[in-house]
């Protein structure tokens, strides 16, 4: 039985549930990828395994006998019991990403009294499901998540699902490297000094001369100096490359396929279980109706593509009418490859694989922070600038600087510059050069729509409309040169925990002072993204904060405990980009 490629209708799931209920205990074994039961007790073993991607076999770690781990199909309100047995020779853990539960069941070692599961030991998780939707589970120990310890969770709602579908598929995206995660991190730390070990899109001397020709020498040098100050490189969109990108554990050649009959309504529960990869995802020829984000229902919004942060999930609907194959295509933002799967009426079909989009070139706007360096500009030299060659300058970058941040600039020294003309120039340039400029530019074709965070509108109203009692600023910081990623400038073990009072309404303001986007994940509670949707702020467990930008969220601190709060890029977390978010009850002494 190949349930993975057939998908499960709700009726099938119920049938399985009845069968499983009779069996009482469902034990995971290889090839069995889906579980459903009314009385949920299951055993999951964590063990070394191998996986074969497009014909190449490498080592990995499996939960429940497969990579990805089996999809856990549960029902809202159920109490689930999961016995996890560690068959590795190192400690492990399983974290239930996005689930509301007691801290000790959250599965993050070192938090809420949860201890890692030692080799040979079994830990019993027991919790009641207080929510419905698409979530996932993964290791929260070392680099094990990168090695294959991730799987989907689907919780059917107790009430009517606001979405009806004929087919229901889980689509788990991931990135796989045959290297061991500790080796990857070592190389990142060693190689980052000047090499940009994994950054194959690194700009070269040749690029430099091209830029000089295009931008003029001063501008080019200045740009270089700025990048030098940032200790990053302008194509540093992702810091690990050499990945294979997988859909449900299958490579692009393996071509994981989901079947449909033309006219059917197909629900895809798409999970970004990557260690490090932010994707742009589309299904050419099929509009995508987004119906849930991070497991929480949203007012349906129709788009052509979306940018997909690590740890996020999106539930989407597609309605293929034609008897043909469609390609699900997910490109990492550094465009170093792609994940591909197929939706088709029959097995063995494949659709066109679209041309890869250009890799964006980060601009000064993506720096956001470093306006200070502008003060040191040699304005005198600008007077002598060859304005003719300025046509090629990336003015979009200059836009982002904001005039306020350039107090030291002597505008009188720039007599020949026509600012009015500059405004329009960057657009023409972006179109003329077949390049994408700036982090947010996914090279989305004109006339098509990419999902924006502002499109997300919660399906049910925001429950807590109080003004936040406390505002917390979390600066996303880092030193690329030494591969140290931090929050508020401090590594995890050196930083001060965040403390909030139980029951309070809190605002968190993420200020991204780095050149990379960071998917910020809070355990234990949903945050509500302040995206302008007033009383329908979308509830999320991961918020992707673009480089150089500020994003704010609110939350009601209604889950006591000390929760991990971290960047979900695995190697960023591993290098220190994490803190404790402590929700404490008020005591008399306070």
């Amino acid at each position: 039985m190949n349930t993975a490629s057939r998908g499960l209708s709700r009726r099938d799931a119920l049938k399985l549930a009845v069968m499983a209920g009779l069996a009482g205990v469902v034990t995971a074994y290889p090839e069995r990828r889906t579980f459903a039961a009314t009385q949920q007790t299951l055993d999951l073993a964590v063990e070394r395994s191998r996986l074969t991607i497009d014909g190449a076999t490498s080592r990995g770690i499996a939960i429940g006998g497969s990579i990805p781990a089996p999809t856990l199909r549960w029902r809202e309100g159920q109490e689930v019991v999961v016995h996890v047995t560690n068959k590795l020779d190192e400690p492990t853990s399983i974290h239930w990403h996005g689930l509301l539960l007691l801290g000790v069941m959250d599965g993050a070692p070192g938090f809420n009294g949860y201890q890692p599961i030692m080799p040979g030991e079994t830990y019993t998780y027991r919790f009641q499901l207080r929510q419905a939707g698409t979530y996932w589970y993964h290791s929260h120990s070392a680099g094990q998540e990168q090695e294959g310890m991730y799987g989907a969770i689907v919780i059917e709602p107790a009430e009517r699902d606001p979405v009806r579908a004929d087919r229901d598929y889980v689509v788990v995206l991931s990135d796989h490297t045959p290297e061991r995660p500790d080796a990857v991190l070592r190389k990142l730390k060693l190689g980052s000094v000047s090499e940009g070990y994994y950054n194959r899109g690194k700009r070269t001397l040749f690029d430099f001369f091209q830029d000089v020709d295009r931008d003029g020498f001063d501008a080019t040098v200045r740009n270089r100096l700025d990048w030098g100050d940032m200790l990053m490189e302008p194509t540093d969109l992702a810091d690990v490359t050499g990945y294979s990108f997988l859909v449900n554990g299958k490579g692009p050649q393996d071509n994981w396929t989901a079947l449909f009959n033309p006219g059917e309504r197909v629900r895809l529960r798409i999970i970004n279980a990557s260690a490090m990869t932010i994707f742009d995802l589309r299904i050419p020829g099929l509009p995508i109706t987004v119906v849930a984000a991070d497991g929480q229902n949203v007012v349906p919004v129709k788009v052509d593509e979306f940018r997909f942060g690590v740890g996020e999930t999106y539930d989407v609907l597609v309605l293929p009418q034609e008897d043909k194959a469609f390609t699900l295509f997910a490109e990492p933002i550094d465009r170093t490859g792609f994940a591909r799967a197929t939706l088709a009426p029959r097995e063995g079909m494949s659709g066109d694989v679209p041309a890869r989009r250009p890799r964006t070139v980060l601009t000064m706007a993506d720096m956001g922070m470093d306006h200070g360096s502008m003060a040191g500009m040699d304005h005198g030299s600008m007077a002598g600038m060859d304005h003719g060659s300025m046509k090629g300058m990336d003015h979009s970058a200059m836009m982002g600087m904001g005039t306020g941040s350039m107090p030291g600039m002597d505008h009188s020294a720039m007599p020949g510059m026509n600012h009015g003309a500059m405004a329009g120039m960057d657009q023409g340039m972006a179109k003329a050069s077949d390049r994408a400029l700036g982090w947010a530019d996914a090279a989305t074709p004109p006339g098509t729509k990419a999902l924006s965070y502002t499109d997300l509108k919660a399906f049910s109203k925001t429950r807590d409309l109080r003004e936040p009692a406390q505002e917390i600023v979390v600066r996303l910081t880092g030193m690329m040169s030494r591969y140290i990623w931090t929050l508020n400038g401090a590594k995890f073990d050196q930083g001060t925990p965040i403390r909030v009072a139980y029951g309070d309404r809190i605002r968190i303001r993420f200020v991204n002072e780095t050149m990379m986007a960071h998917p910020m994940h809070l355990h234990g509670m949903f945050v509500e993204l302040e995206n302008g949707q007033k009383d329908r702020l979308p509830r999320k467990h991961v918020v992707l904060v673009p480089p150089g930008q500020t994003t704010s969220v609110q939350l009601t601190a209604d889950e006591p405990g000390e929760w991990p709060f971290h960047c979900h890029l695995l190697y960023h977390m591993a290098s220190g980009m994490m803190t404790r978010f402590i929700v404490e009850r008020r005591t008399a002494s306070l």
Binding site: P162, V163, R164, V299, P300, K302, K457
Partner: protein, 187 residues
């Protein structure tokens, strides 16, 4: 909204939008085909002509019941109760007609004439001459009713002959979410 509705005689209850119709695009009167398909899909009828009443619950985003069964030549009075938080439509047509109507409604939402929760009546004061293609935009099809949150409305429809029909909500994303049902013809 209600005062506008009172002045209209069409099956359409979406007065705010109907008023946006420019001169020359007068409302299709009851019984006049709004789409050209109307003859095939049936026609509006007087409530008194119906021998059968069907209660339909509109929710977020679903219908209860999920499908309907009618006979050719039968006239049915639909009582449509919106129990949800969002604006919903009850529209009888073919899948193709719904697909076309979804585009129109998406544009109405984009232009603020419709919001996810209701009809923007304040837009009736707009300068229609500047609306270009919008002039043709009107939600006055006799085969469709918009029902706001908490409202109950009616549509009486004569199913003239057997054809592949769906009742559907064409608010953006609702049809896609499954807010559509088949009309089965029984003999």
């Amino acid at each position: 909204m209600r005062s506008n509705t009172r002045s209209l005689t069409t099956a359409s209850l979406l007065a705010g939008i109907a008023l946006l119709s420019a001169p020359g695009f007068a409302l299709a009167g009851a019984g006049e085909p709004g789409h050209g398909h109307t003859a095939a899909i049936g026609e509006p009828a007087k409530a008194s002509a119906a021998k059968r009443v069907v209660q339909v619950e509109l929710g977020d985003n679903y219908y209860k019941p999920e499908s309907l069964s009618v006979k050719a030549g039968e006239t049915v009075r639909f009582v449509l109760k919106n129990k949800g938080d969002f604006l919903h439509e009850f529209n009888i047509g073919t899948a193709t007609m719904h697909a076309a109507h979804q585009k129109e409604m998406a544009m109405m939402v984009e232009h603020g004439m419709l919001t996810p929760t209701g009809i923007n009546t304040s837009m009736s004061g707009m300068d229609h001459s500047k609306m270009g293609g919008m002039a043709e935009m009107k939600h006055d099809d006799p085969n469709s009713v918009l029902v706001g949150p908490g409202e109950t409305k009616e549509l009486t429809w004569k199913f003239t002959k057997e054809t592949a029909l769906e009742f559907a909500c064409n608010m953006p994303g609702h049809y896609e979410s499954g807010m559509v049902g088949k009309v089965a013809f029984t003999r």
